[in-house]
Amino acid sequence: MSGADHLPGSPLHNEVTHFLYVEAKLLDNSRYSDWFSLFTEDVRYWMPVRTTRFLAAGKGFDEDMALIDDNYISLKTRAKRLESDSAWAESPPSRTRHFITNVMVKDGAAGEIAVSSCFMVTRTRSDRDYQFFTGVREDSLRCIEGGLRIARRKILIDQTVITNTNLSILF
């Protein structure tokens, strides 16, 4: 992310932030097909595995192994599955809340917008306690027919051991 910054309050920052809030609301309201329509056909939706390493070795993300690594069709499969009545990990559905903060907006490569945002996602399902998922999303957004679309999302999760049963929700 080396392009020009778009500061909070600027028109592009406002538009991107609003877009991310709308997206989060779609997820929290289980509107998975509508959520999926926000992605471009060349999307990579990717959560690499993280490992515990010393500082000198970097942040510990393993580019060779992922927890999620979807293209357009497999992401669509994931979204459609959540709308079926037999995806037992989410049926009956979890209640999620996506808190999106620290939105930073820059000009990206090839006319794209480079956005980073922090997330805290809470999940509670059936009678079980809260689970928390936190991390950073690095998005490449594209303006298509007057609307924003997500062309790439790299989800940098904070946990090296996912202590929360599974990753059956979306980020």
Binding site: M47, V49, T51, T52, R53, F54, A57, G60, D62, E63, D64, M65, A66, L67, I68, D69, D70, N71, I73, S74, K76, T77, R78, K80, R81, S84, S86, A87, W88, A89, S91, R128, T160, V161, I162, T163, N164, T165, N166, L167, S168
Partner: protein
């Protein structure tokens, strides 16, 4: 010596549980009647620590994960933390990951490359062969107060490597690995040596599930669950809309609790031949396998197996997306119990060393999309393990058994070309029954070898 296992009066006392029952009464494996109590009872969990997790052989990792001298990864051996390291001479070693001084965890990252294993607490430093090399403030020890040569890192009692798979045990009385594996080694050849060897891709996915470790194990060789548990994938056209589709194959028990199955696809389906590997790799099977091993590999697409108690492979053929083409991958699995109702899962992707770049990529994508915590198959399994656990912690539930009777009267298949007891029809619960029978044997055995 760390955790020496002695036949003791305590073991005999434990034959009778509080409430008066014996483990023999709770686990009637041959009849397919296993008490729900064994899954969630803290008393039984405590007995497992000594009788299973100090005694059995455990998978630690694969040689390819530590290719160079000084490479190390941290793992469990049973339920104790270990460091798996390749020493300066290239020798693979496994040590308790705990300093000899005050017990501090010595290696505190998931992987590293190190010349010395240095404890951060007071600075004791060990060579990669485990020997203690330096102790700060050493001059303050008087004569005879510090016997450095006796204070190396605590090694596992035995270490064994089979086709690059590294196993270890804390039990000096355990039979050697090859004997422990027995006939299972013949089947492991098919899985890991069919094309001349495999290697691990990246690092394992690790995640925690609120379940009994035994529910995760039970699920692993269960073919019957696929149609119901993964019904969403039937609806998405990723699995056949036929409740019998995974029944064409054999269930096999090889003794010592090791269990596996092989499943065929529909007749003539090339994606389900040679374990789903691409055609250009098929000639390698002839070179690396015995004729009977090759015959089995050539005729089947799917195989899952459990090296008793908690190491598993899954050789699967599936699509990673709606209406996609099926592709193969090889997954290894390990359960680390964190308590009676919490389990840490380790999941690795393995790939044949001979694989093309194209097959590596599609195998990786198919694996990540379907298995592990984010996989759209696997995540529904975790829901089942958790709810099986939640529903069986209460005293009323614990008075009842589960039901594992499918195929309890089935005869063995005399035409199966491999060793062990094979049963045709891959819908059956003989694998779980064999696993529980071995669990009962180890839990009630008096001596350290589990005899």
């Amino acid at each position: 010596m760390f955790r020496t296992i002695k036949p003791s009066a305590a073991s005999a006392d434990r034959a009778r549980l509080s409430g008066g029952e014996t483990l023999e009464q709770l686990v009637r494996a041959e009849e397919g009647l296993v008490s729900r109590r064994i899954f969630t009872d803290p008393e039984i969990y405590r007995i497992e620590q000594e009788k299973i997790f100090e005694r059995a052989w455990f998978f630690i990792g694969h040689e390819s994960e530590i290719p160079n001298p000084g490479d190390l990864v941290t793992r469990p051996c049973g339920v104790d933390p270990v460091v798996l390291v390749r020493d300066d001479e290239g020798v693979i070693r496994v040590f308790l990951n705990s300093c000899r001084h005050r017990g501090m965890r010595v290696c505190r990252t998931d992987k590293d490359n190190a010349r010395f294993l240095r404890c951060p607490y007071h600075g004791w430093a060990y060579r990669t062969d485990g020997s203690l090399v330096s102790v700060p403030a050493e001059s303050h020890y008087g004569p005879g107060e510090l016997e450095k040569e006796k204070l190396g890192l605590i090694p596992v009692a035995q270490l064994g490597i089979y086709h690059g798979l590294i196993f270890a045990t804390w039990n000096e009385h355990a039979p050697p690995l090859k004997e422990w594996l027995g006939d299972m080694a013949w089947y492991l050849d098919i899985i890991v040596n069919r094309t001349g060897g495999i290697e691990i891709v990246g690092t394992p996915q690790i995640w925690d599930v609120d379940c009994s470790w035994k529910f995760a194990v039970d699920n692993f060789t269960d073919n019957v669950h696929v149609f119901s548990a993964h019904q969403s994938l039937v609806q998405l056209g990723m699995l056949p809309n036929d409740p019998d589709f995974a029944c064409h194959g054999n269930m096999i028990t090889t003794g010592n609790g090791h269990i596996l199955h092989f499943v065929k696809g529909a007749p003539g389906e090339a994606a389900f031949l040679y374990l789903g590997l691409p055609k250009e790799m098929w000639p390698l099977f002839d070179k690396n396998l015995k004729p009977a091993q090759k015959e089995i590999a050539a005729a089947h697409g799917i195989s899952a197996g459990t090296v008793w108690p908690n190491f598993h492979w899954l050789q699967l053929v599936t699509s990673g997306e709606m209406n996609g083409h099926p592709h193969a991958y090889l997954n290894f699995r390990l359960e680390l119990p964190l308590g009676p109702t919490r389990t840490r899962m380790y999941s690795w992707l393995a790939i044949d060393k001979a694989a093309s770049a194209e097959y590596r990529k599609i195998s990786y994508e198919t694996y990540v999309r379907t298995f592990g915590p984010g996989g759209i198959f696997d995540q529904d399994d975790m829901e089942n393990w958790e709810d099986c656990t939640i529903a069986n912690v209460g005293p009323a539930a614990k008075r009842h058994t589960l039901h594992h009777t499918m195929g309890v009267n089935r005869k063995t298949d005399p035409n199966w070309p491999g060793p062990g007891r094979a049963y045709s029809d891959s819908y059956g619960e003989m694998t779980q029954r064999a696993w529980y029978a071995e669990w009962r044997r180890m839990m009630t055995a008096a001596d350290g070898a589990g005899k």
